[in-house]
Symmetry: C2
Amino acid sequence: MSPSKVEFWFDFGSTYSYLSAFQMEGAKDVSISWRPFLLGPIFEEQGWNDSPFNIYPSKGRYMWRDMERRCARDGIPFVKPSRFPRNGLLAARITCLAGARSEPWLPEFVRAVFRANFGEDREIGEPMEIQAILDDLGLPGADLIEQAQTSENKQRLRDQTRRAAELGIFGAPSFIVDGELFWGSDRLEDALAWRWREGT
Amino acid sequence: MSPSKVEFWFDFGSTYSYLSAFQMEGAKDVSISWRPFLLGPIFEEQGWNDSPFNIYPSKGRYMWRDMERRCARDGIPFVKPSRFPRNGLLAARITCLAGARSEPWLPEFVRAVFRANFGEDREIGEPMEIQAILDDLGLPGADLIEQAQTSENKQRLRDQTRRAAELGIFGAPSFIVDGELFWGSDRLEDALAWRWREGT
């Protein structure tokens, strides 16, 4: 039996993607494919120039309370960010670079960026913060940021965002297992159950 | 210890409310307050004149596939309705009437209407279908429909829809436990867990 695989599609500005990045730690026997993408262009196609949580205030108020409860439940830190959504462009590019090179630090970097955004209220849109996160992981921050900005690597993220739209992805986080799309941090369990049902 | 209570807010046209109406059968030790309301006016406040699942096609496509999977998982019938969303006005009025009279058939009626809409592709917006559903439950369908159309009872539903908006409800299903709002069929578990945590 070949190892089962789940694609985890996320945006660093997305609150529920933060929850899933940590839920992923519990998914031990599955190969995770980390797929950062940008929600911005996908939201624009839906006619939104901002997060729907900002556009629809009652939905936004609910989401922040729900995040507070869910983070408490999952034991992960939560501080309501003073800016929302933050720009995840550079962090996503770094993740694309790490993915292309199969770097073992990829998951740790992803979680560190999410924690900085939603657990520590840090400006992850600023290169200085991303560099600090990389340096803290014992990585050459300044070099990696430079390498992430090559046109080849920028294209990786653009391709991945286009691919997300082609796959029918309209929000984050999303999971894909054997061609099946699951949307929302509360669908990870379904996604993993799908794998087991199909894999037997 | 006073009995714990969950308010279940739903619209008969809402797919995920269908799932929750049946999930409620499993919530044995909790007092359920059935709260039908109309999503229409609430969506209008958000600038939508239709279901967001119709307005945003990729979200709609996903929802129908998700419903198919979740109904299979939960063992409840599913037939993609030929009209969506259907008008739940009359069914909601009947439910309000049943609530005001503490009728024991209320939950069974609610589930029968949802099943007709999403399991049998029946036109629940038509009084004939609602009457057939009531008659099948051994109730005086024609009389109940007449009683549901009094101005007193119509006002009940209007009041309840206004109350939903006041409570910050922006979608269905929603659950309220001890003043805490939970949105979506996948938050019922959280809602009931909240009850236990707060009730001890």
